[in-house]
């Protein structure tokens, strides 16, 4: 008996591969049904990959699938609707055997929020920690301030850097670890984990650490990590970097 003949649990990677193939099969079946439905259907084979991805649809994680969605929907409304309908999983029970409550429970709804539905929504929720810190700094200025180069990039003096490290060593270490983690795992670091929580001193510490990172050419990294946003003037022309 060889190793291959031995029975045992299916390796996780194989299990995942099987699931992937099942999804592919389902996707192809969908396409066949679509082609039967409408002779004028365009070649949707280029969207097969999209269809398989549909099962993992998560709005927050991918951008390309939305481009695909939009393209299909805008060019072929009927086909898109069919694709969507055929993608819907059926219940274990035939429709005729379901009770009213079971049918209702199977339909997942959402309520769009508009200024009509929610007349008062506090944008203070999105008030940035940076703005709060700016107010704090105006009341009680820090002993050392960063200066800015002509390019607008902050230049932090050695003495300022040492002051940051001395006062906020722990926060600095955590912040750096977060950013390194971001690049290593390709995850977005939630901005409020870096600056938004904790005491005033802790938050200032994180902000100063951020400035230090900027000085070291890590602006893009911080932006991609969600630590920075772009502030835009009302006419949409002027833009500046802002911490959150």
């Amino acid at each position: 008996m060889t190793d291959l003949d031995e029975e045992g649990p299916v390796p996780k990677s194989l299990e995942e591969e099987i699931k992937k193939l099942e999804k592919m099969e389902r996707a192809f079946k969908l396409l066949v049904r679509l082609q039967e439905l409408n002779q004028d259907i365009v070649d949707l084979s280029s969207h097969v990959d999209y269809v398989t991805k549909l099962s993992r649809l998560n709005i927050t994680e991918s951008v390309t699938k939305f481009a695909a969605l939009r393209n299909i929907a805008s060019r072929h409304l009927e086909q898109f609707l069919a694709l969507l309908l055929f993608s819907v999983d059926s219940s274990e029970k035939p429709l005729e055997q379901m009770t009213e409550e079971e049918m209702a429970a199977s339909l997942r709804l959402m309520v769009p929020i508009t200024n009509k539905h929610v007349p008062v929504i506090s944008f203070d929720l999105f008030k940035t920690e940076f703005e709060k810190l700016e107010i704090t700094r105006q009341k009680k200025p820090l002993p050392l301030e960063p200066v800015y180069a002509e390019t607008g990039q902050p230049i932090i003096s050695e003495s300022f850097r040492l002051e940051i490290e001395k006062r906020f060593e722990e926060q600095f270490r955590k912040f750096r670890a977060s950013l390194i983690g971001y690049f290593h795992e390709e995850n977005t670091v939630p901005a409020n984990l870096i600056i938004g929580q904790g005491t005033k001193e802790e938050r200032i510490g994180r902000l100063l650490s951020l400035l230090y990172c900027l000085q070291n050419g890590l602006l893009e990294m911080a932006y991609r990590a969600g630590v920075l946003v772009i502030s835009i003037s009302d006419d949409g022309k002027d833009r500046m970097v802002q911490g959150i």
Binding site: L37, S55, L57, I59, T60, E61, V63, F66, A67, L69, R70, A73, S74, L77, E78, F80, A82, L84, L85, S87, V88, D89, S90, S91, L95, E96, E100, E101, M103, A104, A105, S106, L107, R108, L109, M110, V111, P112, I113, T114, N115, K116, V118, I121, F123, L125, F126, T188, P190, G226, V229, I230, S231, I232, D234, G236, K237, R239, Q242, I244
Partner: protein, 175 residues
Amino acid sequence: MNELKKLVAALITGDSTKRVGATTKVLLETLGLAQEDHGQLMWLLGIASSFLNRLGLEMKYNPFHDTWFVALDLSESSEEVIAKTTGLPTALRATLYAIIMAMRDSGKTTCSVEEITKARKKKDIKTDLKQLEKREMIGISSDGTITLASGIFYHVNFEDLYLGQENSQSDKLQS
């Protein structure tokens, strides 16, 4: 105002021509981005979405109208809360579900009033259908043919409907 604030404000308040959300074009204009910066907009929508999720909200997309909008996440809500919040009673939800499933099972994007009457085991389904039509979720032609209306994508979470069985299967596996 920073770009995330602008983005969320546009998604909630919409523009003068739309009742719900904002189109991709409007969002690009709001942020002062060019058409080529589409990827940047998508990335910002992702960041905004992660913020909104913490507040119990969801970023959604209606592909028919190329419109992005914010919606309440009702996935963990009870039946009573869903009925109250959406204003869609159990009977109407059941009828809407029957319509979607009837289309799915027949392989067509239409169905008849008779089919739904049979599936719902009700003598008179017309009141339900009128109510759904009034809410712009379905359309009914003079010959009794039912179609889905594009407004349905603002109300029915098709992604969850698609993932429903898959999720329940993985739940079973985990348990």
